[in-house]
């Protein structure tokens, strides 16, 4: 086993680990942004029931949701160059980071596409018809009516996916990426203070996850401000404001707030 517990190492490692957070967040941000693009492209054939593409997107979804991400990482890192060699593309000089981002983007893309599909489906068809009846084009109806509501609806799921992605990036060290977990491995092995390293690591992941969750929750409340209910016909606003302030103050209050108000 390692060295005896020493509190100083804990602080020391926190300081040493924080800079590598940049790498972790870079992977998360890139893969989520690319994943959103992929998710939308994959969701469209499902939403519009386009025959062949729909089958293809289903195959993609089952693969990325049905296999562990670690396997996906290895498959892309070791397998993709082999396949590309067949068409005379040499990717041996491409840094591992690109493969990591690609894998996480495709992985998140699968879940994000499910999220998009569900959220768009949740905006009732009647509003789209009303938009057409008002004279909007399909594009206007989608961007002005469906998208804002779908975004608000999907935010809790999106928040979960981003946090899951953050935690999944800890596997990127297996391809030698020096993100949070990768760095902590080296620190731990060098000093043999395993417990301190992993405690600092856990603290950092927790703080970031918690921060993200709170942030998304705030955005969600803002986007869902139209989902208020009539409390009584006369001047409900005072009472509601007071209630909302109370919800905002109590930290443990999750997403149930909206429903509870009814």
């Amino acid at each position: 086993m390692g060295e005896p517990f020493d509190f100083h190492y804990l602080l020391d490692y926190l300081v040493k680990l924080v800079p590598t957070l940049q790498m972790t967040l870079l992977i998360v941000a890139c893969s989520i942004v690319i994943g959103l693009g992929i998710g939308l492209v994959v969701a469209l054939p499902q939403l519009y029931k386009i025959p062949v593409l729909r089958r293809l997107s289903q195959v993609y979804l089952s693969f990325f949701r049905g296999t562990p991400i670690l396997i996906q990482l290895f498959l892309f890192y070791y397998g993709l160059p082999e396949i590309l060699k067949l068409v005379y593309v040499d990717v041996s000089k491409v840094p591992a980071l690109y493969f990591v981002i690609l894998t996480y983007a495709l992985h998140s893309g699968a879940y994000l596409s499910e999220m998009i599909r569900a959220a768009v489906g949740a905006v009732d068809r009647g509003q789209v018809e009303a938009a057409y009846a008002v004279g909007m084009t399909g594009f206007q109806a989608f961007t002005r009516i469906v998208l804002p509501q779908a975004t608000a609806i999907s935010l809790p799921v999106f928040s979960n996916l981003v946090i899951a992605n953050l935690k999944d990036t800890s596997l990127a060290f297996s391809l030698g990426i020096m993100e949070l977990t990768g760095k902590s491995q080296t620190l731990a092995v060098m000093s043999r203070h395993f417990v301190e390293t992993y405690i600092s690591l856990a603290i950092i992941y927790f703080v970031i996850s918690y921060g993200l969750e709170k942030l998304f929750h705030l955005v969600e409340r803002k986007l869902l401000r139209h989902e208020r209910q009539i409390v009584s016909d006369e001047k409900p606003s005072r009472y509601r404001k007071w209630k909302q302030r109370r919800f905002a103050l109590s930290p443990g209050f999750g997403r149930g707030g909206q429903e509870n108000e009814a």
Partner: protein, 250 residues
């Protein structure tokens, strides 16, 4: 003037509209009656192309659409010349009453935001919601939501407003306020086609009544003629079943 000629619509094998001919003069209020499943909603939806008719012709003044293969631009024009008030209101839930009315004005008609706002406020005042401009649909009662729906339809200055059972999703005590608004705008000479089960309302607001059954127009005429002395057997039976008293208790 609106003129429908030989409108046909099938869903798969089920022929829902079997050649509808209907002419509506400018300023007329037409009530469409008929049993459930007779194709009333489908007819209205065909008029603004929410449903694609298989055949027929829609003429609004000097604008005409051949339904069999219309171009996209014709559909767009048709939708701008018509407006629809839905049974389920279908307000944009993430927008306030005011924004709901303004939306079409500045997105579709490209009117400046300020002007659109002024015009929308006027319309909301007309339907009695001058004090609810900033309320979201979830904060409004059914009757209030439907009145926003009517204001939204009026905003586009359409040649015709199509109403699909505008009061049938409402609690009985809220029906009156919506009917009063429709009565009021009927008096202003706006052309309207209303599908309704409110016989009393049809009788005193409509200038023309159409009775539909199984995808055809069985009989049409002035309200007092059709209600008091219907000629067709199917019309008589339908009217016997839905007396004005019964209609109000739905």
């Amino acid at each position: 003037m609106i003129k429908l000629t030989q409108i046909r619509k099938s869903f798969g094998r089920n022929e829902v509209l079997k050649g509808i001919d209907l002419t509506v003069e400018k300023g007329e209020v037409v009530a469409i009656l008929g049993p459930s499943g007779s194709g009333k909603t489908t007819l209205l939806r065909c008029i603004n192309y929410l449903e694609k008719p298989n055949e027929g012709r829609i003429v609004i003044d000097d604008f005409s659409v051949q339904c069999r293969r219309p171009d996209k631009k014709a559909i767009h024009t048709l939708r701008q010349k018509t407006a629809m008030v839905f049974q389920q209101y279908n307000l944009f839930k993430h927008k306030t009453a005011l924004e709901n009315v303004m939306e079409g004005l500045f997105v579709v008609k490209k009117i400046s935001k300020d002007e659109a706002r002024i015009r929308s406020i006027e319309l909301l005042e007309k339907v009695g919601l001058g004090n609810k401009l900033d309320s979201y649909p979830s904060e409004l009662s059914g009757g209030q939501q439907q009145r926003v729906g009517i204001a939204r339809a009026l905003a586009l200055n359409p040649e015709v407003i199509l109403f699909d059972e505008p009061t049938s999703a409402l609690d009985p005590e809220l029906v009156g306020e919506v009917l009063a608004v429709i009565r009021k705008i009927a008096k202003e000479g706006i052309t309207m086609i209303i599908v309704t089960h409110e016989m009393g309302f049809a009788q005193d607001v409509a200038s023309h009544v159409v009775f539909m059954d199984e995808g055809v127009i069985v009989e049409q005429g002035k309200p007092n003629e059709l209600f008091t002395s219907p000629k067709e057997e199917r019309t008589k039976q339908f009217l016997k079943r839905i007396t004005p008293e019964a209609a109000y208790s739905i």
